[in-house]
């Protein structure tokens, strides 16, 4: 440990760091920042070299941040850097469609005027969010980053957890947080198994330019092959998340840019005018996974390491940021009362707060995907009627909007836009 500011203040100086975070993705970085700002010493370990993490082309995704997630990013001080490029989502239109036919007449429209404050959320691109996080982390004295190094083992005893790194270093902490993704090793080493399956679907992701302005409206078309989401980015651009059966997705991905657009056009429709590609193309295989526990003695899981959901409702990062906000609040409150922050009874407060919500989300998005990724005439009629019905009942529709905006349930402070 080379950073004097990161000496553990906790547990009578018994550890190298209060919290060790394995995995420097968006969740790991947000958590590190929130905890360090609240006074804990944090060390974040990421296997990618620093240069690769900062590379703009590293991840082509965009995120539909809920109102609650936006508030959390504001609370940890990232918004000034993101505000200019963030595209407000002013409405969401959900419709059932078949390639070449366009959306069905019975569709569901959500409008931001139906919830109290401002837009329903913001679209933020990974290439903007990631540098903002890395900059803020570099400025935080209580935070140490170790990059280009993996965790290879972890060992828990009565007073802490010792983590071995691939360069041979051993670090002790009061608690280890696994933010290391759906296949990350932290869970398994803590004796936590995962349940899940692959969807045999792949998401094709790209930014597209179009002739006409999108007006801040996000579209979700449910196609038999899988949903197509069209999400507004700044300017006359949108991010598409185009889900196809895995074999078809592989074939589409192998096409030239021009042929790719030719396959996309009938699905997308012509309502925004002609399309062009506005960046690189990416593919992400889809699956569902749920850790059988979110905590073990001195270990907690957050983000995809705890739950990998279908991206159908854009809830992956939003769910991760809910984990971050909840875990940060639980750990900081425990620190303020002088509790040992790695004890299982402290960590179980995080699990009790998050688990019901996450399981509901996983089941709901899985069910949605199964219902909509189908061309059965009866199901199609049923879901058209269902969408039309929800659209006609303002109370129910408002409920969906508030849920999608992340404004339901017992919210941790960060999601209300307050410091931890």
């Amino acid at each position: 440990m080379d950073n004097a500011g990161s000496a553990a203040i906790f547990g009578g100086m018994a550890h190298d760091t209060d919290v060790l975070i394995a995995g420097g993705g968006l969740n790991g970085c947000s958590l590190a920042l929130a905890l360090a700002q609240a006074g804990l010493s944090v060390t974040l370990v990421d296997p990618l070299p620093a240069k690769a993490r900062g590379d703009a082309a590293f991840d082509g995704r965009s995120y539909a941040l809920s109102v609650a997630s936006t508030r959390a990013l504001k609370a940890i001080g990232l918004w000034p850097q993101l505000a200019d490029e963030a595209q407000p989502i002013l409405g969401i239109r959900v419709s059932d469609g078949r390639a070449g036919q366009g959306p069905s007449p019975l569709s569901l429209t959500f409008d931001h005027a139906e919830i109290e404050d401002g837009p329903m959320g913001h679209m933020v691109e990974d290439r903007h969010l990631r540098p903002a996080l890395l900059d803020a982390m570099a400025r935080e004295g209580r935070l140490t980053q170790i990059t280009g190094v993996a965790t290879t083992a972890q060992e828990v005893d009565a007073s802490g957890v010792t983590v071995t790194l691939s360069d041979g270093r051993r670090l002790t902490a009061a608690v280890l947080v696994g933010c290391d993704g759906a296949r990350g090793p932290t869970a398994g080493r803590a004796g936590i198994s995962r349940t899940g399956w692959e969807y045999r679907q792949t998401a094709l992701v790209a930014a597209v330019g179009h002739e006409r302005p999108h007006g801040g409206i996000a579209h979700q078309f449910f196609m038999p092959e899988g949903p197509l989401a069209i999400l507004p980015l700044s300017g006359n651009r949108s991010s598409i998340v185009w889900t196809e059966r895995r074999d078809r997705a592989d074939r589409i991905n192998a096409l030239s840019d021009e042929d790719y657009l030719a396959v996309l056009r009938p699905r997308f429709g012509s309502f925004l005018g002609d399309l062009s590609l506005a960046g690189d193309r990416y593919t992400y295989p889809l699956g569902l996974g749920l850790a059988n526990a979110f905590v073990a003695d001195r270990v907690a899981l957050a983000g995809d390491a705890a739950h990998r959901v279908h991206p159908i409702a854009g809830q992956g990062l939003n769910a991760g940021l809910k984990d971050v906000a909840t875990l940060a609040e639980v750990l900081v409150e425990a620190m303020r009362r002088g509790e040992d922050i790695g004890r299982i009874d402290v960590l179980e407060r995080y699990q009790a707060w998050r688990r019901f919500d996450v399981t509901t989300l996983a089941v709901a998005t899985d069910g949605f995907n199964r219902l909509f990724s189908n061309d059965n005439a009866v199901l199609r009629l049923g879901r058209d009627l269902g969408l039309g019905l929800v659209n006609r009942l303002p109370g129910l529709r408002r409920g969906f909007i508030r849920e999608a905006a992340g404004l339901t349930g017992d919210l941790p402070r960060l999601l209300r836009g307050q410091p931890v």
Partner: protein, 247 residues
């Protein structure tokens, strides 16, 4: 058997007992469940009285604190982590090495002593803060005991004292519920007739020369399975703060 072997056996025994004290699902589960609520109250009262900022790293630095009836150190350790200089006192000799072993495992420096409030007062020890949690209902002469506690406080010092109210609900909760139904506590842990109402405690505190300034209920919610502080409901568990008037 050599001396060092005896020591090792003893240490192993104390470590096992410490593990039992600190097991959140074990024998002391009810204390662990209540602890966050007690600590919230204690930390807020100390911070308010001594003008400390709880978001700082060691806000209780410079405060000398006594934990009476420290047991395995469930309150002493958090106070030491927050920076206080802690003396943990327990009348049961067996608790002392157990608490010591656990504090050492966590790298905490706490002065645990097999002694009583009366003996410490006679020795002339004084503290900024005295924690007097769930003790007063077990002593034979509460007035004499609280007077000893007052003598342990520096002028302007603060005592936090919690106990059980004498109501039909506390009989139901603490005796029938905790001892007979949930078996959280061994039968006979509490004698309901020795429970003290908040008004009785306030007059005992005043009689001891203290100035009671705050009282709140600690309420268990069987749905969320959590304890919380409550301004109005002092019918079962409650906690008070009093000050030793500065001369």
């Amino acid at each position: 058997m050599t001396e060092s072997t005896i020591d090792t056996t003893e240490v192993a025994k104390f470590e096992a007992m410490a593990a039992e004290w600190w097991d959140p699902r074990g024998k002391f589960k009810p204390l662990h469940m209540q602890n966050p609520c007690r600590l919230d109250y204690i930390c807020r009262q100390i911070a308010a009285e001594f003008d400390r900022d709880l978001s700082q790293q060691r806000p209780f630095e410079g405060l000398r604190l006594l934990d009476i009836g420290c047991g395995g150190g469930l309150l002493s350790e958090p106070m030491a982590r927050r920076g206080a200089e802690v003396v943990g006192a327990d009348a049961a000799a067996g608790n002392i090495p157990v608490a010591e072993v656990h504090a050492r495992q966590g790298g905490l420096d706490i002065d645990y002593r097999h002694t009583t409030a009366e003996a410490l007062a006679a020795e002339g020890e004084t503290f900024d803060v005295v924690l007097n949690m769930e003790v007063v209902e077990h002593v034979s002469d509460p007035a004499a005991y609280l007077t000893a506690c007052r003598r342990l406080l520096k002028p302007g010092g603060l005592m936090i004292c919690s106990t059980l109210n004498r109501t039909m609900r506390s009989f139901g909760a603490a005796i029938v519920g905790a001892e007979h139904i949930m078996r959280w506590l061994p039968r006979g842990t509490h004698d309901w007739r020795k429970f003290i109402t908040p008004d009785e405690l306030y007059s005992l505190l005043r009689q001891a020369g203290l100035d009671p300034v705050d009282r709140q209920g600690m309420v268990f919610n069987p749905v969320t399975w959590q304890w919380s502080l409550n301004d109005r409901d002092l019918a079962v568990n409650y906690v008070t703060t009093s000050l030793n008037p500065a001369r």
